[in-house]
Symmetry: C2
Subunit: 303 residues, 2 copies
C-alpha cells in the first residue's frame, strides 16, 4: 500500500486554515469576487475566437483589463445586441495577425479608442502575442510610461524582449476564455502552455475558463487555494463541487492534500497510472495541496 | 538541431504507401466506411450520457454492436422524435449502475428485447462495465454460447475475469461518443484509460468521437493509418484536415512521420516541451508514424 499512498474520505464540509509555513496562495475565483481596485487591476480577461457561454457582464466588473485575441473581438462584439451595450464593454486591446478579425468589428472598436495592434509575425500565435501585450501594458503602466508605437510585424516581441528584458515582477492573473474544449490538439497545446508560460514568466498565473470548469496550475511546494465560499463558483450547493488533479507535466507528482472528498497522503499520480478525477472540494473556504512538481487542476464551475 | 530533430514541410497531397516491414494498420474511420459484414461486426458504438452532435444514423449502419452506458440510453432515446424511429435504432445492451437511466427509457428498451444489465458494484465505472460487456459479448458469440445470467452487482466482472480469464484475441474497435469535451478531469481520465485499457487488453482499439475530432492511440513501433480518402472524414476539402500528436503517456516519445504538412524526423515530443498541434493530414489515403511509445493523436472531423 505504501507505494500507492493513502486515501482518506472526508465529509461535505471541512475547515482548512492557511498553512503556517511557506506556501503559494492561489485565489482562482478572483474573477468573480475582486472588488478593490488594487485587486481587480491585476485580473485580466483574455477573449479568444471560440464560443463561450459564461455571463460576461458578471466577470467584467472584476477584471481591470480586457484583451481580445484576433477574432475574439468578433465574439465580444457579437455577444451584445446593440452598440450602446458594446460601448459599455470595450476591450483595452485587440491583438493578433487579424486573419479572422472582421472589418466592421475592427472599425467599431478602433473608432471607440480601443488599441488595435496588428502583429503579422508567424513565429508566435495570437495567444502568445496577447500575453506579451499584457506584460508590456503592466510594466509600462507601473513605470508611468505611455503605450509606444508598435511595429506591425513583431513589435510586441521586440519591445518585450529587447526593451523590457522579457521579465516582470508584477503578479497578473490571466483569465482566458474558451482555449479549452474545442479541437483536442488545441486543448492540449493550451495545457502545455499553461505549464511552460508560468515556468518562463512566473509572474503570470493562468486560469482557463471553460463551459464546465476552471483549469489552473498548482505550483511545486505547498499551495493554499482559497475563496470566500464555494457557492461563489458552484451555485448548486447540494453536493460539493467536483474537481480533479491532472498530472499533465513531464514527471510523476507526489501529492498530499487537505480539503477534498478523497484526500491523499504520499500519493503518486501520473498518466498511465493513478489520476484523481471526480473528486470534490470539501474545504469550506480553501484547501491545501502539496506537490513535488507543478500540476494542473480543474474545479467545476456552475455560475 | 539534432536534439530537436528535423521538420519537413509537405504539399497538400502526398501519396503514402503502406510500409514494407512490420507495422500496425489502423483504420480509424471504419465507423464511416465499413460495409462488409465481417468488418462492421467488429465496430462497436458506445454511447455515454453526454450531449453529442454527430449524425447517429450515418454511423449506425457501419457498427455491428451498440452499447449504451447507463444514461447514454436516455440520449439515444431522446435523439429520435418517435417510437417508430427508435425501434429502427435499438441498442444491443444497456449497462451501468443506472443512477441516471430514466424509468420510461428502461421500460421502452426492455419491452423491445434490448438486454438491460444493471451492475451496481462501485469499484468500476459505467465505462469499464460497458467495456466488459463488449468483451464478453464477442467471446461468447465466437464460442457460439448464449448470453448468460449476470449477477446484478459485479456479474460482468466475475464472468470476464473468472470464466473468461480476462483476455481475448478478437480485435474490436470501440467508438465512444462524448467521453471527451465535458469536465476536464473526465476528459483526462478518459485519455488515461485510452492508454491503460489498450495496454491491459490489446485486442481493444478505442476511438473517441468528439464534436470536433476523432482521438485514438498510435502504438509503439510503426503505424500505418489508412482511409479510402480524406473527404470521408473531412467534407471541407479546401485545406487538408487538421491534426495533432499528443504525448499524454508517461514518457517522452521520439517520432518519425510521413504524410503530414509538417513531417518530423527523430523529433522528441513531450509535455512541457515540443507538442505537434495544428498539423495537417496530407497523405492521400494514409500516413505513417513511427513512435518509441504509444502516443495519442487527434484528427479533425467535419462530417
Amino acid at each position: 500500500m505504501s507505494d500507492e499512498g493513502e486515501v482518506f474520505e472526508r465529509p461535505d464540509t471541512v475547515v482548512v486554515n492557511a498553512p503556517s509555513g511557506n506556501h503559494h496562495t492561489i485565489e482562482p475565483f478572483a474573477f468573480l469576487t475582486s472588488v478593490k481596485e488594487s485587486e481587480r487591476n491585476h485580473n485580466v480577461l483574455l477573449i479568444s475566437n471560440q464560443p463561450f457561454k459564461i455571463d460576461l457582464k458578471a466577470i467584467w466588473t472584476h477584471c481591470g483589463l480586457v484583451v481580445c485575441s484576433d477574432g475574439g473581438a468578433n465574439r465580444l462584439h457579437d455577444y451584445f445586441t446593440n452598440d450602446k451595450e458594446r460601448e459599455d464593454f470595450l476591450p483595452n486591446y485587440v491583438v493578433g495577425d487579424f486573419d479572422s478579425l472582421r472589418d466592421n468589428v475592427k472599425r467599431f472598436y478602433q473608432s471607440r479608442g480601443v488599441k488595435i495592434i496588428p502583429q503579422y509575425g508567424q513565429y508566435s500565435n495570437d495567444f502568445q502575442k496577447s500575453v506579451r501585450c499584457i506584460q508590456i501594458h503592466f510594466l509600462l503602466s507601473e513605470q508611468g510610461k505611455p503605450w509606444p508605437e508598435v511595429d506591425e510585424d513583431d513589435g510586441l516581441k521586440d519591445i518585450w524582449e529587447k526593451e523590457l528584458h522579457g521579465s516582470s515582477n508584477i503578479d497578473i492573473r490571466i483569465y482566458a476564455l474558451s482555449v479549452i474544449g474545442g479541437r483536442f490538439d488545441q486543448t492540449i497545446q493550451s495545457i502545455n502552455q499553461l505549464y511552460i508560460l508560468h515556468k518562463e514568466q512566473s509572474n503570470l498565473h493562468f486560469f482557463f475558463i471553460t463551459n464546465y470548469d476552471l483549469i489552473f496550475l498548482l505550483y511545486k511546494g505547498v499551495n493554499y487555494v482559497t475563496y470566500p465560499n464555494r457557492a461563489i463558483f458552484c451555485k448548486d450547493t447540494s453536493s460539493p463541487p467536483l474537481c480533479g488533479l491532472l498530472p499533465l507535466g513531464d514527471k510523476p507528482v507526489t501529492l498530499n492534500s487537505f480539503g477534498f472528498r478523497y484526500d491523499v497522503k504520499n500519493w503518486v499520480t501520473k498518466m498511465m497510472g493513478q489520476v484523481s478525477s471526480s473528486n470534490r472540494v470539501v474545504g469550506e473556504k480553501g484547501f491545501i495541496v502539496e506537490c513535488t512538481e507543478d500540476i494542473s487542476m480543474n474545479i467545476e464551475l456552475n455560475l
